[in-house]
């Protein structure tokens, strides 16, 4: 056994390269939050059921709690911090605010990134497309109607 030592890994997050010295059993979520201090990505269930840890990997939504950081090497990771440009919020973020689609805010980063991936793939989704796309993101404030509306607004 070589002793489960820390390893130097390289991650590309929000178009910046980071070198992190960490254990292979650390999840991408843990490294984002604890090493890179990108705490916009939230930890909910930590078992892949709630969707609040969603990040984009090469543009596709994934659960960062079920992805080892070592497995994310060589991929483009986008977190909620990577959406705004300079001080300007991304249009989906603006619409979430304008439509009142944020209550406690805990599900919001995952919802917005899932919405971004949907709109990148399908710029004119139907309401059903939106509901299917966010079916893996739980909002315990149950503000789904406004979330769907905010995503719909972002498709215009």
């Amino acid at each position: 056994m070589k002793g489960m030592k820390k390893e130097l890994i390289t991650l590309r997050v929000n178009n910046e390269d980071y070198e992190i010295f960490t254990y292979p059993n650390k999840t991408l979520l843990e490294v984002l939050r604890e090493d890179l201090m990108l705490t916009g990505t939230k930890e909910g269930c930590s078992e892949g059921a709630c969707g609040t840890c969603t990040v984009l990997m090469d543009g596709k939504p994934i659960r960062s709690c079920l992805m080892l950081a070592v497995e994310a090497q060589g991929k483009d990771i986008t977190t909620i911090e990577g959406l705004s440009e300079d001080d300007e919020l991304h249009p989906i973020q603006k619409n979430f605010i304008e439509q009142g689609a944020i209550q406690c805010g805990f599900c919001t980063p995952g919802m917005i990134l899932t919405a971004k991936a949907l709109l990148d793939e399908n710029p004119r989704p139907t309401e059903d497309d939106i509901k299917v796309a966010i079916s893996g993101n739980v909002c315990r404030c149950t503000g789904y109607a406004k979330i769907v509306k905010a995503i719909k607004e972002s498709s215009k």
């Binding site: 070589k2 059993n25 892949g48 596709k60 939504p61 994934i62 659960r63 070592v70 079916s135």
Partner: protein
């Protein structure tokens, strides 16, 4: 999570030598959506994770003359967005569109879903009724095992410790055939089935059944075929009475248990209901005018 070493072999040969070196201290990881949960719940304690992600040519859908080959590292999302799967293996399409959520489907692999051998594995029933075989490969060679002979018990398969699941081989469905899968669950996304029923029907020109396959999930310790009900259907016309009797037979062949998701009596009742429903959909999809 317990600490472990993480190895990322870049060829099958390297995978085999690592598997031989670490034996039962190693765990293979594909997409990781099952393995990570097992690690977090402290249900497995490997010293080493051997990742299959960097092994080339393990994710593919090959549409050949009379077969469709699916590489074991193909993700559910890749299956969901493939026209070959949507048009030719409709039961499998039905299963992958509702598995987990898009975040899971972007990562979770079909090989993992089957090798994990859960009684509730959504892709198992469709693959069973599509007469899929598993190509198992080791340093010593390869062998093909029909999926109906693959599962032994929950979490147990006929795979030996030195083997990995390389691909699924599925005979191309004939003309006048159709297949469907129904996941019975409280919600479509992010839920395991209370019961899964897949059926494929190959029809004769006169609308009698040439070949029937019925696959049941969460109806026994492993995904199973309802062989007696299949035999009963062969040569028959799809009348209400025939469908009802096929459902009765399939229900008797199952051995469901009471679990947190549903009780055994309910599963038995629903096998009757869903056998009729899914057979009807499969028949429609066979497009006999």
């Amino acid at each position: 999570m317990k600490k472990f070493d993480y190895l990322k072999p870049t060829s099958l040969d390297e995978v085999f030598s690592l598997m031989e070196k670490f034996g039962s201290n190693a765990k293979l990881i594909a997409g990781g959506t099952d393995v990570m949960v097992l690690l977090k719940r402290k249900r497995i304690f490997p010293d080493v994770l051997i990742s299959l992600r960097s092994v080339p040519n393990m994710a593919y859908i090959k549409d050949e003359k009379d077969k469709i080959r699916i590489g074991s590292m193909t993700t559910h999302r890749e299956l969901e967005t493939s026209t070959v799967i949507k048009e030719k293996l409709t039961a499998l399409y039905d299963a992958v569109i509702n598995l987990g959520s898009v975040q899971i489907r972007n990562v979770a692999t079909i090989g993992g879903n089957i090798a994990n051998a859960a009684p509730s594995a959504d892709t198992a029933c469709p693959l069973l009724v599509l007469d899929a075989s598993c190509l198992l490969i080791s340093s010593k060679g390869e062998r093909e095992v029909e999926l109906k002979d693959f599962f032994i018990a929950p979490g147990e398969t006929v795979m030996k410790q030195d083997e990995i699941l390389k691909e699924f081989i599925i005979p191309k469905p004939s003309k006048l055939s159709g297949s469907a899968y129904w996941k019975l669950s409280r919600r479509k996304a992010m839920d395991l089935p209370i019961l899964g029923v897949a059926i494929s029907l190959a029809m004769n020109e006169d609308k009698s059944i040439k070949k029937a396959r019925i696959g049941l999930g969460v109806a026994a310790p492993t995904p199973i075929r309802a062989f007696k009900a299949e035999e009963f259907l062969t040569g028959k016309f799809l009348t209400d009475e025939v469908l009802a009797e096929a459902g009765n037979i399939a229900s008797k062949e199952a051995s469901p248990r009471d679990s947190i998701r549903g009780e055994a009596w309910y599963r038995r009742e629903m096998i009757r209901v869903l056998t009729k429903r899914v057979a009807t959909i499969s028949f429609k999809r066979a497009n006999i005018v």
